[in-house]
Amino acid sequence: MASAPATASGAHEAHEHTHYTTTGLDNRKIAIWAFIGSECMLFASLISTYLVYKGRSLVGPLPHEAWTSPAGQVFKPILNMPVTTASTFVLLMSSLTMVLALAAVENKGKPGYEGLLGSSKTWLLATALLGAAFLGFQAYEFTSFVHEGLTIRTNLFGTSFFTLTGFHGTHVAVGVLWLMSLLFIDLKRGLGPKDAIIVDISALYWHFVDVVWIAIFTLVYLIK
């Protein structure tokens, strides 16, 4: 067998084809899905712990029930449904703006597309802002809980609740940073169909954070 007789022209071709892959899929997309699979186990652990400790707190405040302390102080059920419903809606809508951002990047340059749906800059900014709004609601929720006497040290509910929602909030915060970075690139040089993959993987992450919230909203807030 001939060993290594690559010609100069072969080399140039090779350079252009460095992205040959077995499946034809992008490496980064496979990695992000594996990462999301891994995150399922992280959130399953956090949610399991929250559920295992549900109803086991020795003292209040409690999520869905009123509680009277031995000193006679009355604590209302602490969860604030109107605020959380609003923040849930905000996060759901951020998934819509995210898919529109991806569609705008994928279809950039196609006649008539941008006029119809707005530019990728608009949608990336909208998504980041909605994410930031969600974080704002969470900050409001956390501070009002602390004012009402529930901290991460108070009881098992406080411990597991702040940890679970705090981890989720951290994921949202990372997502907002990621989106801002994409927006920065978009403003600087413009994102086009060739960059669709980097928007795609951030979108997958963003939607995953959204579906985790869908689970948390039901398991923590709605089920009493």
Binding site: A4, A6, T21, T22, A34, M41, R56, T159
Partner: protein, 639 residues
Amino acid sequence: MATTTAAPASAPVHDASPGQTGLWSWVTTVDHKRIGVLYLYTALFYLLVGGLEAALIRTQLARPNLSVVSAETYNQLFTMHGTTMVFLVVMPLSAAFFNYLIPLQIGARDVAFPRLNAFSYWVYALGGLFITLPIFFGVAPNGGWFGYAPLSGPTYSGGFNMDFWVLGLQILGISSLAAAFNFITTIINLRAPGMTLMRMPMFTWMSFVVQFLVILAFPVITAALFFLQFDRFFGTNFYQVQAGGDPLLWQHLFWVFGHPEVYILILPAFGLVSEVLPTHSRKPLFGYNVMAYSGIMIGFLGFGVWAHHMFAVGMGPVADSIFSMATMLIGLPTGVKIFNWIATMYGGSLRFPTSMKFAIGLIAMFTIGGISGVMHSSPPSNMQQTDTYFVVAHFHYVLYGGAMMGIFSGIYHYFPKITGRLMNETLGSWQFWLNFIGLNLTFFPMHFSGMLGMPRRIYTYDAGQGWDLFNLMSTAGTYMLVVAGLIFAFNFFRSRKVGALAGNDPWGAPTLEWSIPSPPPDYNFAQIPEVTSRYPMWDLKSPERTAGLEHSHADAAAITEAHAVPIHEETERRTAAELGIPMPFNTIKPFMVALGIIVMFSGMIVLHAGKFPLAMAMMIGGGAFLVGSLYAWLTSPLE
């Protein structure tokens, strides 16, 4: 290039890419082979550390009522022995092989994310120091390698000791997870044309399964460790019984991770011997498909057996029965592997170099450990054995007799590929027999001392309980293992310099990594090979062995696209530049990100010391450095 430092000066290797020598080139390398070598050396260093810890433990236990070390030191020694061997030795030795072999076995030029790979290594190397250095100051972790809470919580372990453990394991988890995403992507997406999943070498198959175990098991320990970290640093109540916390929460979370971890430790060794046995039996692996499926089966069932570590806590008959049955079930795919290896040798034309001796040693020793494992799976029997030396005997048979024997087999087998030279067979034989006798002398008597009721983790014992002789035997065996280890080290370093030259394929092995020079050039394959069967090198050199197996060609489009050519041996060494193969640039950025992480975690220790401003400075500074380096990394081109 990977081996300029590792390869002897007289080897017929002309340096393919100049400038790739010296410390800086190792800190900035992104070559999977050099990173594999880094893993290998680092893990062997920690093997020395963990081995010395074991020798001290056994010296303390040689006779009743000795006081070689204090009770506190003993606690630190057994905790660090376990932690070191699991997280700093066996996993990284496996990682050394993942790094070195997976791209070579699937016909790729590197892993999918070369810089992420460097990052994984540096997080491991620095995290290893983070968790190991405290022992020199007497503040090493002392709560057991599984760190049971509430014992490991703030109430009962108030000092710094368990801080290092909690934070150190978090750091090492980052390394394992990053590597796992990388290898999953590599194996799915960088296979050469024609290298279908069912043609992958068995080592790559087992590694593939292990990566999934890592991405699914490590998040659970991450969560459990965060809880413990919050309890210790922020006063939360996760494991605080006085606040209503459940003392079993940690145990369940830990073992949901811990049991898959067992397979993370053993499956790579299974993969290595599955390469060695067919090569030296000169016969294809018996039941290839079943071997692959049983690996998947072990991985899958591995998530459903965790509570068999907890029969003693009293989970009730339903839970006990379910976990007991699942545990017995997992013995089946494992047993299938044993029989397949034996059937691979049956009727083969056997050779017995050291790697083969170790591979056969694994089959025998792992079987003993596997059988005592099935004994534990029965709750009534388990109640007698749990927390005694019987369990210590069991898991050392599977991890020393299994994982380490497999890894030694792999080192002897692949040393010539990595260095271009063969290891000395006479010394290898000495090492094997001392290892084999030493490990049985150490661990077999533990079955008896355990059955006689000797508990684990006690730092000394009174005479007259029937344990004295067995303990003395165990200690004598340990010293034999130390001698065997020294022979290995001598052989390893000596052979690097004066071993016989190996050539491409010293063993007549069947897989792709043997078609290229030893040590391989930095680009691995000058031309990507087109794979037509499971044993491409035998198709070329011993076609009679593979005549009965399925052969087929990849689709023409894929071959054109990858510039793949038929299977051939590459003997010529040229530079990547001459061949026009684009190579990733060396970069310091992954190291910097890893450093940022370590500084952040160290800030937590400073926080515990009560130096709040300094702690904040370290955490915020480390975090900013991490994010800045990460942005610099992501915005700079790979090649």
